[in-house]
Assembly symmetry: C2
Homo-oligomer: 201 residues x 2
Amino acid sequence: MTSHASAHALSRREQILREASRLFAERGFHGVGVDDIGAAVGVSGPALYRHFAGKDAMLTELLVGISSRLRDGGLRRVEEAEAAGRPAEEALDALIAGHIDFALDDRALITLHDRELDWLPEADRKRVRRLQREYLELWVQVARRAHPGLPEPRARAAVHAVFGLLNSTRRLSSPTNLPDRAETAALLHRQARAALAAAAR
Amino acid sequence: MTSHASAHALSRREQILREASRLFAERGFHGVGVDDIGAAVGVSGPALYRHFAGKDAMLTELLVGISSRLRDGGLRRVEEAEAAGRPAEEALDALIAGHIDFALDDRALITLHDRELDWLPEADRKRVRRLQREYLELWVQVARRAHPGLPEPRARAAVHAVFGLLNSTRRLSSPTNLPDRAETAALLHRQARAALAAAAR
DNA sequence: CGAAGAGGTTAACGCTCGTTAACGGGCCTG
DNA sequence: CAGGCCCGTTAACGAGCGTTAACCTCTTCG
């Protein structure tokens, strides 16, 4: 309980997580030293151990946070759509839009999310995988409701492929590479929708 | 010039490259030690230095090889389609099919191709990036011919996203995870085609 | 036959890097 | 004002790992 957190600038812990995620995304988990992360927040070296148990713990917290945000956000959107009685196509659109927002706004996190999972200690890796699986299953259910007749194994593969499509933004290194955020989002959305529809044919 | 190569089993050099690519894909470039690679081919440790200048050199050779194969194969397919006077849509289909074959048959290489590029020494990295860029430009040209009215920046982004879609197979760890090779290939093909067509709308 | 070279071996060096130890200085609180 | 606690510092340890050295054994060929 850090008591006075939340409503002011950025706690040291959050600074560290932010810089760590940026560096991990740029150079990979093993390409970044503990000293590098320290330097990025203005302290040097082992000072980080006042805030985290170790380098692994930072990655764990980042990955669990990402996976949770994705799954929880997805669940919320689908529930909202269903509560409002909207058709399954719109729930699917909400999932797509949510994922695109995430991929465009938190490029670094998306990169970690499908690149650095292997380096977690066994227990944490299982936890993250579970969250990822739940998120995927959510998509699969909604996709099958939106496209009746789409068999489950194929839906799973199709959703998997669409994740690859949406996460491809991670390689556009600088934000200026995007012609225009809204336009890029619209393009990805059309492509994702079409890719899912094509799976059902 | 290794003289008597090619027509028999597998030269020691090729064995090493094959095992190295598998291990790099599984555990990442930094997650694999030189001793691991040696053990995988039945020799141990520094014996590899009889065949390669170093660990970097193995990765370089793998990545340059992959990028070259992709680009050359793509060029060949497009030229064949054009020489036969077939429409641009069919050339695009040929590109898609070629990439899918590669992604399904050489999963490890595809993984390296978009995951481990950062670890190359500067000069080699530029070389690989050049090949990758040429491959992408080839797709962009064909896509714009197949879909008139698709502006170039959008075509580039769309093709990029489709690469993400097609390369998503890398996360299906075991080959047995694919329900059926032909079916998976067909699904990916439909999705890629639809994602490109949707970009043109 | 004898020199050369290809392709192994084990031992050892040296660097990087995560982690811990030992220490110090502000700041709150009894 | 004294004792903790928070949060830094620098120094040092220890493991892992890429690379090199020194050495050995076949095979080949003049």
